[in-house]
């Protein structure tokens, strides 16, 4: 019998996510996958999985799970209280979870999206090439739904030994303004709107989910109107509907939209924005597409270095 993971208690938005569903945007299928891709990749790497493995994403609060075979687990995304049979263990490193032990994941501190990776990875059946759950259209995951108590998830067998790992170089999110690349409908907004957009503070609000986040801040008026001929949206698109409140599309964002998009959040900065707790204040900064590409390449190299630097705890160095 294949190994299985039982959900004892689940947070409100717990779902199975692998890297995402690629190649179907032109058919209207959202990418899905983790909201914070770096944290997802690190969780997988800490338990010896490929970056493509399916893990569990949760919003704000995790839950409890049990497994019926010994596995490695790692929790990432933010600071978080994690316990194995009521004994605290640290996030951002892997631990052995024995068959029958209970793993409990509490509230994330200073972050919104958390990840639980299990060695081997979740082995639910892929749909359109991905195990990721897209709840709105009922695709992937476990019957297309968010996870709930009582769910039993199949686990793939791990090819690596059960040796816990730590990061020698911590994953740190930089402070500062959120970088955006203006457009494609930057010309829908006059200089006054642009001035507000780039100088005034915005706040993250509770109106957020895997599709997107509604921001509060100055009202952005599109002088050419808030309706465009529907065109493609991407993860990171900043739509401005008639309310003037920008909406940033994230992992489950729809593939097309009819609102003007003032800018796109730089790929390297999207997870940082998505991880800001409700009520966080920040500003936007405009950069060129070329600079955004440089930033992404740098961020990917940094992530690779962090992953390459993971070690067994008895090797030199420690997380602190």
């Amino acid at each position: 019998m294949a190994a299985a993971l039982s959900v004892i208690r689940s947070g409100p938005l717990m779902s199975i996510q692998d890297r995402g569903r690629y190649g179907y945007r032109s058919y209207g299928v959202s990418r899905s996958g983790p909201v914070d891709r770096d944290s997802h990749v690190i969780a997988n790497a800490l338990v010896g999985n490929d970056a493509t493995a399916a893990a569990i994403e949760f919003a704000l609060v995790g839950g409890s799970i049990r497994v019926d075979e010994d596995v490695l687990i790692a929790v990432t995304g933010g600071d978080c209280k994690v316990e194995i049979d009521e004994k605290p263990v640290l996030p951002w490193q892997s631990h052995i979870l024995r068959a029958g032990q209970t793993l409990t994941i509490g509230l994330l501190q200073g972050a919104v999206w958390g990840y639980l990776a299990v060695s081997g990875g979740i082995a639910n059946a892929p749909v359109l090439g991905s195990r990721s759950t897209h709840v709105r259209t009922g695709l992937g995951g476990l019957n297309g739904k968010a996870l709930a108590a009582g769910d039993i998830l199949p686990l793939a067998r791990s090819r690596t030994p059960l040796e816990p790992l730590i990061l020698t170089q911590p994953y740190v999110r930089r402070p500062g303004p959120v970088d955006v690349v203006p457009g494609p409908q930057d010309d829908y907004f006059d200089t006054e709107a642009w001035k507000l957009f780039l100088t005034q503070p915005f706040q993250t609000t509770a109106s957020r989910d895997r599709m997107g986040m509604v921001l509060s801040g100055p009202r952005l008026q599109a002088f050419k109107g808030h309706d465009i001929v529907s065109d493609a949206t991407v993860t990171g698109s900043i739509q401005v509907p008639g309310s003037g409140k920008p909406i940033v599309l994230t992992a489950d964002g729809q593939t097309t939209g009819g609102y003007p998009k003032i800018a796109t959040v730089a790929s390297s900065d999207l997870a940082r924005l998505a991880q800001m707790p409700n009520g966080s204040t920040f500003t936007f900064r405009a950069i060129s597409a070329d600079a955004a590409e440089e930033a992404l390449i740098y961020a990917q190299e940094r992530l690779e270095a962090i992953i390459a630097g993971r070690r067994r705890p008895d090797d030199k160095g420690s997380r602190d």
């Binding site: 058919y27 209207g28 529907s230 729809q254 992404l296």
Partner: protein, 224 residues
């Protein structure tokens, strides 16, 4: 890359031609190509190709007339049952237009439609070609759940709903042919550029076709 800021067939054909050019002659680093009414969006890996290089290559291809060969649009016929529980707005639409229900159906059947865009939801088809007299604004308050297969009218367009969900379009019927079924060998029936005509069927034929269309090997036979 934008070709126009309005809906027009010439721009859409250029979008489809450039999209087809990328499919047949791929550019290293391009991961997804998304054609819409009047623009083409590419998702690329900046480690494999830089945006500035990509933009130049796209301009080069867009300017070269030789590459302007949009794929021939396939033609399909969709059976529609205009009535029953899915035709939530048929009678009201007839009343608004001062037409009989049969006249509304006749006008909808008279149109030859073009799939301008697949988007919003998996497989959802935006159709151009709705006769002008049927152009009707969307509902002020969207309905919570519209079934897959429902045939809608929204503004100047018609649509075929692909997955159940909320919608502010006005619905006049239903086709048994599901545009999207992830368990089917071919999950999506339509792509941008396809042409569609509707054929009126009755409730019995709809029930019969429901059975056939629900099978995993269901495929739509069209003509080029």
């Amino acid at each position: 890359m934008e070709f126009a800021d309005t809906v027009n067939e010439t721009a859409n054909l250029k979008v489809l031609a450039l999209s087809a050019s990328i499919s047949s002659n791929p550019i290293v680093g391009v991961r997804e190509t998304i054609p819409t009414y009047r623009s083409l969006t590419l998702i690329y890996d900046a480690r494999l190709v830089r945006g500035s290089v990509l933009a130049e290559e796209l301009m080069r291809r867009a300017r070269s007339d030789a590459s302007y060969e949009p794929p021939p649009g396939r033609r399909f016929e969709f059976p529609v049952f205009y009535g029953g529980e899915h035709a939530t707005d048929l009678e009201e639409l007839a009343a608004i237009k001062n037409l009989s229900v049969d006249e509304v159906i006749g006008l909808h059947l008279a149109g030859e439609y073009r799939v301008y865009l697949i988007g919003f939801a998996p497989g959802f088809a935006y159709l151009g070609g709705l006769p002008e007299i049927l152009h009707t604004p969307r509902l002020a308050t969207p309905r919570q759940r519209i079934e897959a297969g429902a045939i809608g009218i929204g503004g100047r367009q018609s649509s075929i709903n692909s997955v159940p969900g909320p919608s502010g379009w006005r619905f006049i019927g239903r086709t048994p042919y599901l545009l999207f079924n992830p368990l089917r060998a071919r999950p999506f029936l339509l792509r941008a550029g396809d042409r569609i005509r509707f054929r009126r069927i009755d409730a019995d034929e709809a029930a019969h076709l429901d059975e056939r269309a629900g099978q995993s090997d269901f495929e739509l036979v069209g003509t080029v």
